[in-house]
Structures are given as structure tokens and as C-alpha cells.
């Protein structure tokens, strides 16, 4: 039993192998869609962030802090510092913070017309 538990934990952690911290802070069983306006794109180490302004049902605008990988990993996926600009409308697929705060882990970003950002710059987006 102990071996089974260890194996399961290993599978979770080892598959992740993140550069900075464990993914345990995010509820990775959930993938939510968040639409909003980019307030700021932080192209920074050890993580990049999208500060996204999201209008809630009551009309109030709430800011979300959405975490991404370090810039190198973004660049390796075709992103550049200019990929996102303040004022841009985007849809983000993300896993929310497990503690319920307004934050999450970004999986995918698409523009309002459905174009996926990033991709292989050599092969074309």
C-alpha cells in the first residue's frame, strides 16, 4: 500500500517537474475559460503573468493574476514579449488557484477572434 501511494505521488510530481514550484497550488483537475482585457503582461522570471481584467456577472471588474511558465518556455512555444499587449481582449484556459483566490495557471490563450497565440514561429502560427 505504501509503495502504491508513493508511486502515485511520484507520478503526479515527477510528470510535472516544474522549474520553480510544485503545481499543488493549482486545482489542475479544473480547466476554466476566462475572458477579459489584458491590463499587463509580465514577461519575467521565474514566472510570467497575465494580469487580466474580468467583468463579473454583477458588472464589477475584477483583476486576475494568471501564472505562466518562465519566458524561455514561452519563447520556445512561439511567444515573445510583444505577444500580449495591454488592452487586448483574450480568452484564457486556466486551472484556478486551489485556495480560491483570483489567480490561476494558464494553459492556452486565444484572441477574441479565436486565434491561438504562440505556436511555432518557424513554421508559422
Amino acid at each position: 500500500m505504501r509503495k502504491t501511494c508513493l508511486t502515485l505521488t511520484l507520478m503526479l510530481v515527477a510528470a510535472a517537474a516544474p522549474a520553480h514550484h510544485s503545481p499543488a497550488m493549482f486545482d489542475t483537475s479544473q480547466r476554466l475559460l476566462l475572458a477579459g482585457t489584458v491590463r499587463e503582461f509580465q514577461w519575467t522570471n521565474p514566472h510570467s503573468y497575465i494580469q487580466l481584467l474580468v467583468k463579473e456577472a454583477n458588472g464589477e471588474e475584477v483583476e486576475w493574476s494568471l501564472e505562466m511558465a518562465a519566458p524561455t518556455y514561452l519563447a520556445n512555444n512561439g511567444w515573445r514579449p510583444s505577444t500580449l499587449k495591454a488592452g487586448q481582449q483574450v480568452q484564457v484556459t486556466m486551472s484556478p488557484l486551489a485556495n480560491g483566490s483570483k489567480g490561476g495557471l494558464v494553459w492556452d490563450v486565444t484572441t477574441s477572434d479565436g486565434r491561438k497565440l504562440g505556436g511555432n514561429t518557424k513554421g508559422g502560427n
Binding site: 515527477a14 510528470a15 493574476s65 524561455t72
Partner: protein, 255 residues
């Protein structure tokens, strides 16, 4: 006249010693010419699918493939299992300083191989550098044992295959929380060979009398990154991961 004298003296030197600055320069050029060309930026094939989250898409899902160096099916001893358990106990609240060795060889962090006759430098995006000395030197004597995060590496060329021998690696999880808990008695032997223009095959065999019951063998390859033509390094100056009840959360942006 002075120039003629200098030339004559140089020629005498070459004739007497069989060496000299001109001859040495030619030998060095020839030594470079014998080395393989591994220019470019490379990434471990196993981690090349890492997305903009920094994690594989399969994270947390059944059947997710672990890194080979962290494979629970490996020949871990009871001590190895015990160390793994201790590792997981505090992992959620720990930050990495980088990848360290051996994980930097099986990570999504791009790296370069800078090859000279005397040394191959393996350096990744976090400026973690492995100095692999290929000038014939051995490891320092045991009495000068100096255990470090990247260990002590010597190398040699067998044709176009680079052999690397590494010892004295300090507790890998100390630098990167999700690294295998090998002891500092572990012995790492690697073989690297370019088998295609965009592919360098890599094998690592680890023997550790403390955490393994048999050698752990890992096999993968480095492939060229499609989107990078340079490595740009930056400091961890926007660290917004803050502990809250033993787990991290995202701190508000610094204004």
C-alpha cells in the same frame, strides 16, 4: 635584420623541440577540426512538449509519464524509497533554484554544448554550467573530495561519442525539489552522440550504493528547439509565489 633573427630562432626552436608557436597553433586547429559540431540550442526530447504553463498537459492525469530519473519503477533501495517519501513531505512549500544535476539533462530548460579540445561546457538557460574536462585529467584525489550541485565531471571522446564521468554531486533535491534523491556517493556515466543533424542521443547510467540496488539507466535525446536562436537569461526578480498555509499562492503584482 632583427626580424630575420627572430625567424631563425623560431625555426631552431621548432627543429629542436618539435614544437613551437606555429606548430602548436596548427595542432590546436586540427584538434578542433576533429571535434563534432553540436552548435545550436537543444532541449530534452522528453520535455520538448512543455507548454506555456510550464507543465505537460497531462499533469495530474492517470498515465502521466514520469521523468525517467524520477521513475518509481527504478531500482530504488529502501533508503531511496525513504528519501523519496521525505522529499514529497515538504515539496509543496519549496521553490527550485534551477534544475541542478542530473535533472538539467532531462528538463525542458534549453541548453548548449560548447566544445573545445580541452573542455566541453554544457550550459542551460539558468546559467547552470557543467565543465566537462576532456584534456586527460582525472577527478581530484579522494582527500580533496568537494561535493557540489553539479559535481565533478571529466570526459573523453570515443570517435564522435562524448563520454562523461561525474562524481561528488550534492543531494539533487536540495537545489530542485523534484529531483531524484541520490546520495553524494553516486557515480554518473553519460554517453552523447549526434545521430542526425537535429538529434543528439543521450544515455546516463547511475550507480549509487546508498539509494539504488542496481544501476539506473536513462536514455533519451536532445532535439533542436524550433523557436529559439539564442539563450537569454534573467534573474528571479518577479517572484510572486508566496507561502500560505504550507502551499504557494500568487501575490498581487508589484506596482
Amino acid at each position: 635584420m632583427q626580424q630575420l633573427l627572430r625567424r631563425t630562432l623560431s625555426l631552431v626552436c621548432l627543429l629542436v623541440t618539435g614544437q613551437g608557436s606555429v606548430h602548436a597553433a596548427e595542432s590546436r586547429a586540427e584538434a578542433f577540426a576533429r571535434l563534432p559540431d553540436w552548435q545550436g540550442i537543444w532541449i530534452s526530447e522528453e520535455a520538448a512538449d512543455t507548454g506555456i504553463s510550464g507543465f505537460p498537459d497531462t499533469i495530474g492525469q492517470p498515465g502521466a509519464k514520469p521523468r525517467q530519473l524520477m521513475d518509481p519503477a527504478g531500482p530504488w533501495s529502501a533508503e531511496g524509497q525513504r528519501r523519496f517519501s521525505a522529499l514529497f513531505a515538504g515539496m509543496a512549500g519549496r521553490k527550485a533554484l534551477g534544475w541542478g544535476f542530473p535533472m538539467m539533462m532531462e528538463s525542458p530548460a534549453p541548453l548548449q554544448f560548447l566544445i573545445t579540445p580541452e573542455e566541453t561546457l554544457i550550459i542551460n538557460i539558468y546559467q547552470e554550467a557543467r565543465h566537462v574536462y576532456t584534456d586527460g585529467r582525472g577527478h581530484p584525489p579522494e582527500e580533496d573530495r568537494w561535493v557540489t550541485t553539479w559535481g565533478d565531471s571529466t570526459g573523453s571522446w570515443e570517435g564522435d561519442t562524448l563520454l562523461i564521468d561525474t562524481i561528488w554531486v550534492r543531494d539533487p533535491p536540495r537545489y530542485f525539489q523534484a529531483a531524484p534523491p541520490f546520495s553524494d556517493q553516486a557515480h554518473y556515466v553519460e554517453r552523447l552522440r549526434m545521430t542526425a543533424p537535429d538529434r543528439i542521443e543521450w544515455e546516463m547510467t547511475i550507480e549509487d550504493p546508498v539509494t539504488l540496488t542496481a544501476p539506473l539507466q536513462v536514455k533519451s535525446a536532445f532535439v533542436r528547439t524550433p523557436n529559439l536562436d539564442r539563450l537569454v537569461h534573467d534573474a528571479f526578480e518577479n517572484d510572486r509565489s508566496e507561502l500560505e498555509g504550507g502551499t504557494f499562492t500568487i501575490a498581487p503584482p508589484k506596482e
